[in-house]
Subunit: 477 residues, 2 copies
């Protein structure tokens, strides 16, 4: 079974209406990180609930409680759960997306009003949330529209989980997913999960994503004087916390990205010839990474090394220092207490728990070598496990078949360097295959100015999501 031609034609014939609907969604300023926009996030979740109800989905809005943001207590946006189909003979697919967006102001450098979807002549649909993640969310709605309008049965049972806090830490979502994954819960009977919230590697080749890096975030706290000191009065009389901290931070990573904390890189097996082939096969060049970074600063001229550095190796980044002088100008302060921030992106088998002892031992040892009279402690902030799943599962076979059918291409099989924490939550709570099936391109500029989704990605992407469901139904276990 493949997707019916009528479905593909319906999508083409209704493209303008779908784009207009995307414009409605973009116009709602559902910025989850701005307390002043919180009513807009509620409005957005209502809009999503109504649209999915209008195509036959049973919808429930779930109160996720309150949280504190910028010092004020706020009601968390409702999550929207949906279900349609309950045929025990059919597979059940759970689809996740989010309806909140990053902040955006014209003054940030947008060429057009970020909350007015602007259709450019080159086919770019420009607006905040167009690709992250309102476009993909509406892709599912478009698929349902065909079946509802034409009274066609869906090839699978569907469950939906839409949230309004993804850009602000997905607060409250983990508990909801765990609860609804239990017997009797909304997600009972789910056979696989499809998440459309990431991007192609480049601008031409579709992607299926089977891995994400985890994260362990640390603070190196060094303190000494009771208060900030004047460098004229105290320079070369006392141990300076900044001097000590810089020396510690210098022991963590080298200029080429190698992690200098003994044991951390060693936890990850080197790639064998077979695995390297996976990366060689990807439609990607050093130019791509340099273009996206905006400068010729790739760590290697070997695309496999660069791709593996991002996808299957841990990385350590130094983010900054809290407590030191950060302004412009020339302040002659000796800061009394400084905290160096760094994080390690983790890959299997690393976890925040099994990496911590290596980090602790290393920084304690380096601190002891310094011989400073200042005080030091390592503090661990938030963390998350990495995720890698089996690319031979029927869920991925369905994704590949759908990609071939819609795009006439083999998809790039990728791992993402970043984290989408809900992925791991679904995988662990449901114990089923989770696949990331992106709609947008690598240059969409999610979180950036002039965020866009190409018209063809929205329309072909809608076909992809629908075709995927038919392939899930068709494929053997």
């Amino acid at each position: 079974m493949v997707a019916p031609k009528e479905f593909l034609d319906f999508v083409d014939n209704n493209a303008d209406a779908f784009i207009q609907r995307l414009g409605e969604a973009v116009a709602i300023k559902s910025i989850s990180g701005d307390p002043a926009c919180r009513p807009e996030v509620f409005k957005m979740m209502n809009w999503v609930a109504q649209k999915f109800e209008s195509v036959g989905v049973e919808v429930q809005q779930v109160d996720l409680g309150k949280h504190i943001m910028d010092g004020q207590e706020l009601q968390l946006p409702n999550a929207v759960l949906g279900r349609i189909g309950n045929d025990p003979k059919l597979r059940t697919v759970l689809c996740y997306a989010h309806a909140d967006v990053q902040p955006a102001n014209v003054s940030d450098g947008w060429d057009t009003d970020p909350f007015t979807l602007t259709i450019q002549e080159n086919g770019k649909l420009v607006g905040r949330g167009s690709t992250d993640d309102k476009g993909p969310l509406l892709g599912w709605l478009n698929v349902l529209q065909y079946h509802y309008d034409n009274k066609k049965p869906l090839p699978v049972n569907l469950r939906f989980c839409f949230e309004g806090m993804e850009e602000s830490g997905s607060e409250g979502l983990d508990e909801l997913v765990v609860r609804e994954s239990k017997p009797g819960g909304w997600f009972e009977g789910v056979d696989c999960v499809c998440i459309s919230d990431n991007y192609w590697l480049n601008t031409s080749t579709p992607v299926l994503t089977y891995g994400l890096r985890g994260l362990a975030y640390y603070k190196l706290n060094v303190s000494g004087p009771a208060r900030d000191l004047h460098s004229g009065v105290f320079g070369r009389t006392v141990h300076e916390p900044m001097t000590d901290l810089i020396r510690l931070m210098n022991t963590l990573v080298d200029v080429n990205g190698k992690i200098l904390i003994p044991g951390v890189d060693d936890m990850v097996m080197a790639a064998d010839v077979e695995e390297r082939k996976l990366y060689e096969a990807l439609d990607y060049s050093i130019k791509d990474v340099e273009q996206s970074a905006g400068a010729p600063i790739a760590l290697s001229d070997d695309k496999v090394e660069v791709l593996m550095g991002r996808m299957r190796m841990p990385s350590l980044s130094l983010h900054g220092i809290e407590g030191a002088f950060y302004g412009s100008g020339a302040k002659t302060v000796i800061p009394a207490k400084v905290s160096g921030k760094f994080s390690i992106r983790l890959v299997p088998p690393q976890t925040p728990e099994n990496v911590l002892p290596f980090v602790q031992k290393h920084v304690d040892s380096e601190w002891a070598k310094l011989g400073s009279k200042n005080k030091f402690e390592l503090e661990e902030l938030h963390g998350g496990k990495p995720w890698v799943t089996d690319i031979n599962h029927w869920n991925f076979q369905a994704g590949k078949a759908a990609t071939r059918a819609v795009y006439n291409k083999e998809p790039d099989m990728t791992r993402e360097g970043g984290s989408i924490p809900v992925t791991l939550t679904f995988a662990e709570a449901l114990g089923v295959s989770v696949m990331l099936l992106p709609m947008g391109r690598g240059d969409d500029g999610a979180h950036s100015t002039n965020e866009k989704l190409d018209r063809s990605n929205f329309i072909e992407g809608t076909k992809l999501l629908g075709t995927y469901l038919y392939e899930v139904a068709a494929i053997a276990n």
Copy 2:
């Protein structure tokens, strides 16, 4: 000739009136760094002008032009020049002080209103500007009051230079000093300069100060990506500016304050046995530095080493990083452009000009070793030369004699670790001996909360300033 007993008695008998007048001065919020307080600084300079006129001084307020502060153009506070006496048989002493103050709010942790001079039972006069520098400025006024009220001739000719921008970079003052030091200028004929704007080393022994460290302030600018990057997407794919910068900053100074830039420490001759004796003689202990830093973090247990580290050795402090993440929390950013700030406190024969080549060569060499594809440049911000003068000049002999007469003690002969740039301006423009003759104690808390001047320091300090003038008149060339 020594100071007449009637002068000393007059000071004691008028102590309460002098303190009340100090309270009037403290009540004027002459915060030069706060544009909103600029009218108060003008009010303060008017007050100073009127008070000095009222004791027979010829006064001129000098317009120093405009400047930009916090993005707005402001009129600089007037400088107040004064002169009294023109007897060619007498020496001419130029006295400098400033009438502006640091910001202060009760919310910073003051126990009382900072702009109400509070007389504590233990004799502390608490208020912003009490010791820095309104107390010393009024010390000169008190001395003049005696001579005016009692129609007594002054033992020297006096010139005054009072400014209202010392806490904000003394803008406009250098030009004024240079101009007025020329033939026909207000400072023509000046034989020596006395500046009262620093502090004793401790709380019990008066000080004469004969040296100040200079300053060279640098930025290490490292840039790479066109914009900040996400550490998940780019970690271990590109050269990260923060990694490079931390490695550079690590090559500058060791944990014990030794400057690692080849050549910089070497420019300064080691102290011989004789010079060490100067530091051994100072009334100072490791406890003093630890108490003022608020923690047991002195670089050495040898007081001579610690004092020389502050007074006669260069020091290098790392102040912070501009452009990196500095907030609380856990932002996973790879900053695109970071600027490491550090400064070197200079001692003779170092100058910003002769130190720069060493710094440039070192950071260029260390940068080349890194092999990063990012971009790097060294930027030099403001600087100032160090100053050391001859402690055997009659100006210092007069200061010593006055200290013995008033305090019955030998003064500690000190060099300050910080800078008072106008010192060097006076020394170079006039070519005469400059002496720093502090009024307050080491624990006065200038720039800090609960700034105070001890009543005894204000009153005995007034006697000291007056007696110094008589000793200047008495001492042979």
